[in-house]
Amino acid sequence: MATSVVEDALANSPDDHGKFIPAKLGRWSPITVISALSTCVPLLVLIGILTILFKKAYPAIKYNGGGFLIGRNWRPGNFYANPVTTNGVQHPLLASYGALPLIIGTLESSVIALIFAIPLSVGAAVIVAKKLHPRLRGFVGAFLELLAGIPSVVFGLWGALTLGPLLSRDIYPVIASHAPNIFILKYFRGSTGAGEGLLTSSLILGIMIIPIIASTTRDLIAQVPRLAEEGAFALGMTEWEVTRKVTFPWISAGVIGATVLGFARALGETMAVAMVSGVVLGSYPTNIYGTFTTIAATIVSQLDSALTDATGLAVETLAEAALILMLITLLANVGARLLVRRVASTSLPIGRGV
């Protein structure tokens, strides 16, 4: 009974636009079958990724144990000594892996990226949607597309050879010498390095996720009912008050969803971070300028050397790290989509913000 109500609702929803009558085509017509099989591909790939990752990571999970989540050593062990067997897993002598610095590095760089990206994206989206002439709006949209389309290696190249050196020469020393020695601000003091590190990486990640948050926010603002906003204007509210009291409450769920999506994208970003983080294993950055690494950057830069581990433990450990990354991003993605599906009328963009 309940399902038929849902089906009725689906049938009457505007989603039904553009459907021709598939019933006449028959359930087993070639088009139906082939297109159904194609549609299963993403689901099969997802299941395949999880299965292979888990199977590959299993020996590493057994060997590294719970220490993997709280340890900080990243020692592949002695590849030249005879392999040793522990818990039924063959491994190089003295191999010991802890992923906590990677996990923390992944999370903190993405959180700092959000701190940059959210105000910039929302501010820009408000101006674009409310103040800009429609023609200019399209122009700005093209720049957002460009920002979303620039390959992440090019971001990395720019960050490593232009932005990083510039910041570490002209900006970071100024901040470092003026930051007071209190609470969070004390992490802004100290050595500023050569431009590779946490703050530079986070800045670049922030820039990379701006298109996701900004374009979603802009589209959401355009969907706010005009009557509600005009009513608020008629009550004598200023533009800012209308935005804060009418527009923002209306779009907040969608913006949160887009933010979580941007967060997930920052967590998984690989090349740019591998080029500007410094990829330092086994330690934490001492201040916000310090070199660090993320899970994704570690995998891409360590897989080559991991392949020289004859016992395979190094590669399996990277699979374990990838599994953790995969689970975190999966959680963020599914969470954001469920939230938005439940409250907002629009659907979130996918991947890089399409």
Binding site: T3, E7, L10, D15, H17, G18, K19, F20, I21, P22, I31, S35, A36, S38, T39, C40, V41, P42, L43, I49, L53, P119, L120, S121, G123, V128, V140, F143, E145, L146, L147, G149, I150, P151, V153, V154, F155, A160, I207, E239, W240, E241, T243, L267, M271, M275, V300, L303, L318, A319, A322, M326, T329, L330, N333, V334, R337, L348, I350, V354
Partner: protein, 289 residues
């Protein structure tokens, strides 16, 4: 009392102005990096650019990018064929046939796949195809891995485009006695073509610009790609950026910037093309709203 209100309203106007100024600054800060990156890459690459970059293969840390350019073109063509057909078919299914919970699950899995980090997909491509199926570093492994990444984009844009086909077109065709298959090909797909093309362009831009899924699947070669699916490592443009940028020789760094410039130019061109498609179809669309 009245004085109080007027001061209050003065404050409110001031706050309003301040917010507008702040948001405008935010807009400038959002636009600036893209311009900065594009200009920076071109400024670093153009003064040293010579046609030999395009006409020579890579030699050690120098030479040209011909092998990478042809490699990128080969992989991308393959991705367009594989991911293009799977994605468009899946867009058709999601917009026309899928119902209820099945539709939600299939659509969500595609959306979630687009959010999986590229290096995870690359790692799986390496484990399953390069090692598992003994394909070695190869065109086949690279293009299948990349295809898995871009199918969701094509599926989503195709689905959206097909949904926007006016119902009146379809009903009209039905009234004229069109067969369902013919309605799909002649009416729905034809009307949705601009949208589908835009999706393919997005997928093209992504497959040209991705690195992580290819590093451990396509490998690298200084020769032109062989047209074999297995045991055929090949170069691609993003590899040059990633490998050469921190090499000690000037020639290598220049190649890195040359490759980056070519990538940026491709992306700019693709954005321009998709804008033209949208503008053209808006001008010629019958369904003006």
């Amino acid at each position: 009392m009245s004085q109080d209100t007027s001061r209050h309203s003065g404050n409110r106007k001031l706050i309003n102005l301040a917010v507008i100024v702040l948001c405008s600054i935010a807009l400038v800060l959002v636009i600036a990096p893209s311009i900065w990156i594009v200009l920076q890459v071109i400024i670093r690459a153009l003064p040293h650019f010579s046609w030999s970059v395009i006409t020579q293969n890579g030699v050690g840390l120098g030479g040209g990018l011909k092998n990478e350019i042809v490699g990128t073109a080969t992989i991308t063509t393959g991705v367009m064929v594989v991911a293009g057909s799977i994605g468009i078919l899946s867009g058709i299914y999601l917009s026309q046939f899928a119902k209820g919970r099945t539709a939600v699950i299939l659509r969500s899995s595609s959306e979630v796949l687009a959010g999986i980090p590229s290096i995870v997909i690359g790692y799986i491509g390496y484990t399953a195809l390069v090692v598992g199926l003994h394909w070695g570093f190869s065109l086949g492994a690279g293009l299948l891995t990349l295809s898995a990444m871009v199918v969701p984009y094509i599926a989503k844009t195709t689905e959206v485009a097909l949904r926007q086909v006016p119902t009146a077109y379809i009903e009209g065709a039905e009234a004229l006695g069109f067969k369902p298959t013919r309605i799909l090909t002649r009416i729905s797909l034809k009307t949705a073509l601009p949208g589908i093309a835009t999706g393919l362009i997005v997928a093209l831009a992504i497959s040209i610009g991705e690195t992580a899924p290819l590093l451990y699947t396509a490998g690298y070669s200084q020769n032109l790609p062989k047209l074999a699916l297995t045991h055929s490592p090949l170069g691609y443009l993003t590899y040059a950026v990633w490998t050469f940028y921190n090499q000690p020789t000037v020639a290598a760094q220049r190649l890195s910037f040359d490759a980056a410039m070519l990538l940026v130019i491709f992306v700019l061109a693709l954005i321009a093309i998709s804008r033209l498609i949208v503008a053209f179809t808006q001008r010629h669309s019958e369904a003006k709203r």
